[in-house]
Symmetry: C2
């Protein structure tokens, strides 16, 4: 939660001359998103979010993210719509960074989602998958299964420092996932959000109003996206699994797109893999973030708790599916 | 720039039932203010800022700040207006913190103010002083001249660590200010903002649209407020004094409220005192802030540069007055 790049008034005013948005009447850094700088921008024509892509963002990926959001919005899925400047391009440069203006999405991110919101979110995820079904661009999941052993390499000591004995368990998780998921190339694939945590989902009351932050979106197994959501939405802050939230997530999803038999069969392992992905990136951030960094790294152990649950799950019915 | 306290949806929804503002449709932490947590809050009836007062805020001072803003707004000075709940009270409790909802103020804070904005700001400051002229509440300046020797006590070593020889200069500044300002109790006093930096002032183009963040406001010499502004607005980021910006600040102020002879005479010393105040609080933050803090302390040496200028100033004409 930080603003990394400051934008001067002159830079902003100059930048806005490229658009048909008129002049800024409010401009505030917002504490949203961990990777990029985001500003609330109000002009005389409307309200927007201005994002500056910081160093972790790969410039080559940005057209994918922008065209995906344009495609989703055009296909009825509610998300921030990138605004094209007068020359037709939405992806531009500001303060030396790639930058985009997107429309403002109403709604609130639930700090502690409730069970009805989980059902809505499951349905929303299925809608996202459906709206993206004919999106032609592809992007490899750079944080997919192939990356996990690479991220784990040399990190055993850090894991054991966090929790003695954890390294062996993680190694076993990686082996299980490598064996179990490698034969699953037949799982239905498509465009996935890959990071649909509660802070990336908006609601008005219990009604899902849209998703933001598509900067991990990629082409991967659709059911993996649902497995990410089970990890992100169906565990409480004390690490406890919430069966009714998971049940609702899956039921909401299947009300629009029923899972296929091989997706159901792979589900516990997909959940375990998704937990590994977040455990590993958090472990890296935890050990590599300087103590004086602006953003506090998130605790990897939250995902060690989830992994403990997934190791014992036998089938999708353990998740209420 | 941080949000220190998280507010859950349930807490927010419950909190809003105390008001006639209807339901929240957007709620985002904003990276504004160093001391407190601020949220952009939109409801079906309008747009607001929700502030949670963090531990540095003295609860006993909060009614003063809130009534001051209500008084200023009622007297035509543009600032965020605290919104009373149905029981008539604007100061409330949320997430265990004192909290207030204020109206949303249009405008942008200049990152690098230009000379016309300095003229507008000077006029705006005079308007603030005028609008507050009949405000009856008083608040002692807890960071006024009496506090400076206290803050300096035991800090000489830290100052010399920043810049060898600096401690002796600061001691001389304190002595000069103690001698020079003690005889100035006859300076016109009133309610001052005391922290009107560019990030607390809003503009549309070059037009001043209002001020925010009154949490250092107090009863003190009016000309001291202008001296704070000279320090905050008329020095460039490389430390250079900008004569035309200072000229405009003073001219803008005097276009509404001409300075009295004793205010003019005291002006260089008031500027030196204001620079000392910010040097000392920054020095304390610099040396006392843990390396892993969310907010990076500001560099005290920026004010050592300003002090060097003020030591050589002979009269207000050196500031373009």
């Amino acid at each position: 939660m930080a603003v990394y790049t400051n934008v001067s008034d002159d830079e902003l005013a100059q930048f806005l001359t490229e658009y048909d948005l008129c002049e800024a009447i409010a401009f505030k850094g917002i504490a949203e998103g961990v990777e990029n700088s985001n500003y609330y921008l109000e002009t005389t024509t409307g309200r927007f979010i201005l994002t500056l892509f910081e160093k972790r963002a790969n410039p080559a990926d940005l057209p994918y993210f922008i065209e995906l959001k344009q495609h989703l919005a055009a296909n009825g899925f509610s998300c921030p719509l990138p605004v094209a400047a007068r020359d037709g391009e939405a992806l531009r440069t500001l303060a030396g960074r790639p930058a985009v203006i997107v429309t403002f999405l109403q709604g609130l991110s639930p700090r502690v989602p409730n069970a009805p919101q989980c059902k809505e979110l499951g349905l929303g995820l299925a809608k996202l998958h459906q709206a993206a079904a004919d999106f032609q661009m592809k992007r490899e999941n750079s944080l997919g299964p192939d990356s996990w052993p690479v991220m784990w390499n040399g990190r055993a000591e850090s894991a054991d420092a966090l929790q003695p004995g954890l390294a062996d368990k993680i190694s076993a998780d990686l082996a299980a996932v490598a064996t179990g998921l490698s034969s699953d190339s037949a799982l239905p694939r498509g465009t996935i959000h890959a990071d649909l945590f509660p802070d990336n989902a908006f609601f008005l009351g219990d009604k899902f109003t849209g998703a933001i932050d598509f900067y991990f979106a990629c082409t991967d197994a659709l059911a993996y996206d649902l497995a990410v959501c089970v990890n992100a939405w169906a565990f409480e802050s004390d690490g406890a699994f919430n069966y009714s939230k998971a049940t609702n997530l899956i039921a909401g999803y299947e009300s629009l797109r029923p899972l296929e038999p091989n997706e159901k069969q792979a589900f516990p392992l997909l959940c375990r893999g998704a937990a590994l992905r977040f455990f590993l990136t958090r472990l890296i951030d935890w050990t590599d973030t300087p103590a004086d960094a602006l953003v506090k790294p998130k605790d990897p152990l939250a995902y060690a708790d989830r992994l403990r649950f997934h190791r014992t799950a036998q089938s999708i019915s353990d998740y209420g599916g």
